[in-house]
């Protein structure tokens, strides 16, 4: 195969990997994915990042270092500014290529595509084409790659919204979700890169499942449901992620489809600090559905998280029997 393109298994990987992989494969490139987050990656990231950076960014830098050491020719670090009109990603995702370059020494060349749907779609396409040009393919391949990528991304979205899969399920090749409808229904909300990173989240979702819960996440909701749920809050969030989280939280509450909500935030995350606060206050004030907020940082002990999840699920079971 051709050029080896490294993709860090962190941050937006959880949202867009199917599209990225399809895109690069269509361009005859080989995709090198960094391994699942582990202790070494975390430690490397913590060493490289500025102290105050949020945990997910630290982990991202750790993955970059890992790809560098594995000899990728090129590392894909997109600048995803916005994927919808009037919405943004977080400032750190906007500045990710620069953070990467300035924090990790000895990186190979970075492929930084700017995706900004606040501007015209044509502009985004031309950015993608420019990125594709690096791979030296026959004319027309770029267009084909873009189409294939967008198809793959759609399939991914549908598998989650219709099939009830989580990103982690899909990315790990799980085909269908086995849901048992008599189980406790628990919503889990947070950044995809927090809740689906097994190491970082200490597998919160898996643990909830083991405790007998059926987990529902934002990805399983339709676009319209999220929009309807957002109306519970006075201002629409200008972050894509914030919009999804508020929308899902509002929708869960309005429809009463969950019995408990687990909010997962990461230490040092700006958006989380306010969005999770809005949700917590909304739920607490109405006192119908209990909320558990878990803040992940590099020192979070697994035992503590397990204890809190167990206590939470116990409480939900007890509520189910008595209410």
């Amino acid at each position: 195969m051709g050029i080896r393109v490294g993709i860090p298994r962190a941050l937006l990987y959880y949202r867009y990997y199917p599209a990225w992989k399809t895109f690069f494969n269509a361009l005859q490139a080989e995709v090198v994915l960094s391994p699942e987050t582990n202790k070494e990656i975390l430690d490397a990231g913590v060493r490289l990042a500025v102290e105050e950076a949020c945990l997910p960014v630290k982990i991202y830098l750790g993955h970059l270092a890992c790809l560098r050491d594995r000899g990728a020719d090129l590392i894909f670090v997109p600048r995803v500014v916005a994927v919808e009109e009037k919405k943004y990603f977080c400032p750190k995702i906007l500045g990710l290529p620069e953070i990467a370059r300035c924090s990790v020494p000895g990186l190979p060349e970075l492929l930084t595509v700017e995706v900004n749907m606040r501007k015209k779609a044509r502009k985004v396409i031309s950015c993608l084409k420019k990125a594709a040009a690096v791979f030296d393919c026959r004319p027309g391949t770029a267009e084909k790659a873009i189409r294939a990528a967008s198809k793959a991304q759609k399939r991914y979205g549908l598998a989650m919204s219709r099939g009830g899969l989580t990103p982690a399920d899909y990315l790990n090749g799980v085909q269908s979700a086995a849901n048992n409808h008599r189980r406790l229904k628990v919503g889990v909300l947070g950044h995809a890169y927090n809740i689906y990173d097994l190491f970082l989240s200490m597998n919160i979702i898996g643990k909830l499942k083991d405790l007998g819960a059926e987990v529902i996440t934002t990805e399983m909701l339709s676009f319209e449901a999220v929009r309807a749920g957002q109306e519970c809050f006075s201002k629409e969030s200008f972050w894509t992620f914030g919009h999804e989280l508020l929308g899902a939280a509002g929708y869960f509450h309005k429809k009463g489809i969950i019995e408990g909500l687990v909010l997962v935030a990461s230490f040092g995350c700006g958006p989380d600090s306010l969005i999770c606060e809005l949700v917590e206050r909304y739920y607490r004030r109405r006192q119908e559905i209990p909320v558990l907020l878990i803040t992940l940082d590099e020192h979070t002990g697994e035992a503590g998280v397990v204890t809190r999840l167990e206590a939470f699920v116990d409480m939900l079971q007890w509520r189910r029997q008595t209410l």
Binding site: P91, L94, F238, G268, D272, I275, L278
Partner: protein
Amino acid sequence: MKITYPHMGLLTIALAGFFQDIGLEVVPPPPITKKTVNLGALHSPEFACLPLKINVGNFIEALETGADTIIMAGGTGPCRFGCYAQVQREILRDLGCRFEMIILEPPQGNWQGLFRQLKRLRGNCSPKMLALAGLNLWRKLKAMERLHKKSLKVRAREINKGDTTKAYNKGLGMLAEIKDPQAIPQVLRDGLGLLEEVPKDSNSQPLRIGLVGEIYTLLEPFANLRIEELLGDRGVEVECSAYISDWIIEHLVLNTLRLPAGLAVKKAAAPYLNCFVGGHGRETVGDTVRYARRGFDGVIHVLPFTCTPEIVAQSILPVVSRREGIPFLSVSLDEQSGEAGLITRLEAFLDLLAEKSKKNFQLSRKKSLFGKIGSNAGKWR
């Protein structure tokens, strides 16, 4: 309707006059104290950025002193500020406060919402009165900023510690009192005169330091632990990269008219950060480059703990510092930051700059603190 608003450096003083001019009853937020900050921090989310917490403290105290309507600005992202008002409203509501909040959201093409909010404020004041009050606010603000700039130069050279601050505060007080806008130029001259009269050592060649970073912490002395005074007292000449009047021109005038703004800073930042990252992230990088090129001895970067745009900048600054040859010190601030810790770090930094430039500054203690620099400053060596 008794309105109040959050503190933000000099703007607070100018705003009180403005609202009075348009015939509104104002309850200015009581001066920020340690208690304000603690109160705000107690009721705010733990990881919210410092300005949000101080705002909450201001609101609680102002509501206690009789205000019933809060005016707050909105925003459209990508930094957290655009989310502030909504979170603050929920916090105050859960505390059982009785109030109304008027949130001025930037129009984004839809002017109606903003007009409706402004109309509620305007009451029965005529457009002419409004324009006059606006002009008055603007001129007062500009005058106070002139005074501020001058004070930074004078303080570095004063002979008796504290003279400049005294003169500066007196000048500000005189400007705040003005009722008739015609008097502004004269009062400004008087204020500048007061600073002129401060006995100075005219031979001194002070270290020059540029202050960059997040705008609230740059502008609100309580939030930045009066870093300008701390530096000035040690004989350092400080220049602040942000003034609220520039911000108003850029964000409220040029951006609304879709005209280009801040080109020089953007150009300076371009080799290091060539895109918008929210807040003042890009300006921090650009201003650092510009201070380096103007031959400043160092740059101090102030940011609220966990401020997202500034963390982007902070990640880039070590490279800027190395390539442009300017040392920098990042000072991140939260409700627990104390003066003693800051002084230690500042003096270590000054020591380093003095070593490099062969200029002198006045240590408050005799012992040199070389080598005791915090983790952020360590990186550029």
